[in-house]
Amino acid sequence: MVTIRYTLVGSLLILIIALYALCYYLIKRGRFPMFRPLPGLLAIDECIGRATEMGRPVLFTAGRGELYESGVGTILAGFAILSKVAEECVKKNTELIVGIGTAAHIPIITSIVEQAYLAGGAPENFKPENLIFQGGTQYSQIAGICGILENRRPAAFIATGGFAADVCTLGVVARGVGALSISGLTNYYQFPYAVAAYDYWLLGEDLLAASASITKEPGQVANIWSGDLFRFILVGIIILGFIISWLGFDLFIKYFKP
């Protein structure tokens, strides 16, 4: 039975790849899908613009999460947002502070920010001291970020990546110091807090699709489009499974049960 389940999962994976190839082909032939605008993503420009006008810094954090764990997709999406934020900060000559929650993120974040300053033609403005490691645990990061929020009073706070209960505390403190805030996470238990405490948000798949939405690169867009098509197939499978189970056959439950 395990082999059958693995075969089913593998087949679905192959189906995603086949759909991806089809979508990529269609885009190359000129059929570009429409992208739903993501308010959380559009708000990045507003946040950085506000910080520039006020002459105050932008604070960013990608949260915590090891790069070999299952939540790595969220962290990568957080890095993609950081790339965009750093680029905009360089363009507008706005100070960027990054709170680093996991030690393994240090070289990656340093590389992203440094590259943004180099590409923007302002390597002299890159300040390594603004990339601050905050201890690696949830509470040390709360203390670190709250400290920066209180001391430096950033005009914008962008938290996209791996977060747990800290997302609520950080959002409320950011609101308290008058920072415009954006949260982006895939930890669905924290969604209500993110919605309550932040001004804008990128929840669930919105965050994971953010980099494709920013670049509009054919490869990335085909990836998101194929995902949407696959979702329709998935809903079809769910409805089929529901009907088959309702008719009294345990086929789906047997083979798709984790």
Partner: protein, 212 residues
Amino acid sequence: MSVLKKRELPMGIIFIIALLCILDYFIIGITGLSNIVKMIGNWAIVISAIAMGLGMLNLLLVNARNIMQRKGNYFYSIWTVIVMLLTFFLAAYGGMDYPPYKWIFDNIYQPTGQAFFGLSFLYTCAAAYIAFRVRTLETSMLLIAGIIGMIGRTPIILTLWEGFTPISDWITNVPGGGTFTAFKISIGLGTILIGIRTIIGIERSYIGEEIA
């Protein structure tokens, strides 16, 4: 060479390692492959542990700069450096069970963490207050669902009418549970997609490449 180092080399490493992990997941019974994947997993843990040293160095540099420039509350930086070095050397000298290190961990680190956890309750209340301000139809619905949810778990109100509990449970399990399942499926699918993007090298923001 620099382009190779910056882009192609890391992306090539990611592709090979991801391919090995996927093959190991789907092809059962190849011991050699499983051993290689296990070894790669161990490498990842070791690299992550080494990165902690990098984190310590980062903290030292940032705080040393604050101290040297007498920036703002620089005395906190002095304290951070002292505590960090003390804890590190105690653990390095006597191990994790060394009594002075254990004392610091049990009597300073743990209670401070718990204090922060306690504080997050207050911030949750503040977030709830912000969320429950009735401005739109959605916030009104959130307010009603929130009130029913709270009443359904408040013993003193349940003495008046026990019917709140099934209503509260229904809101949690049916609309709430359904929404959570939808989120789970979409996040799972989104993670697979970002995985594919990373493996085939079209997601490059993590290597510091411009994305827009």
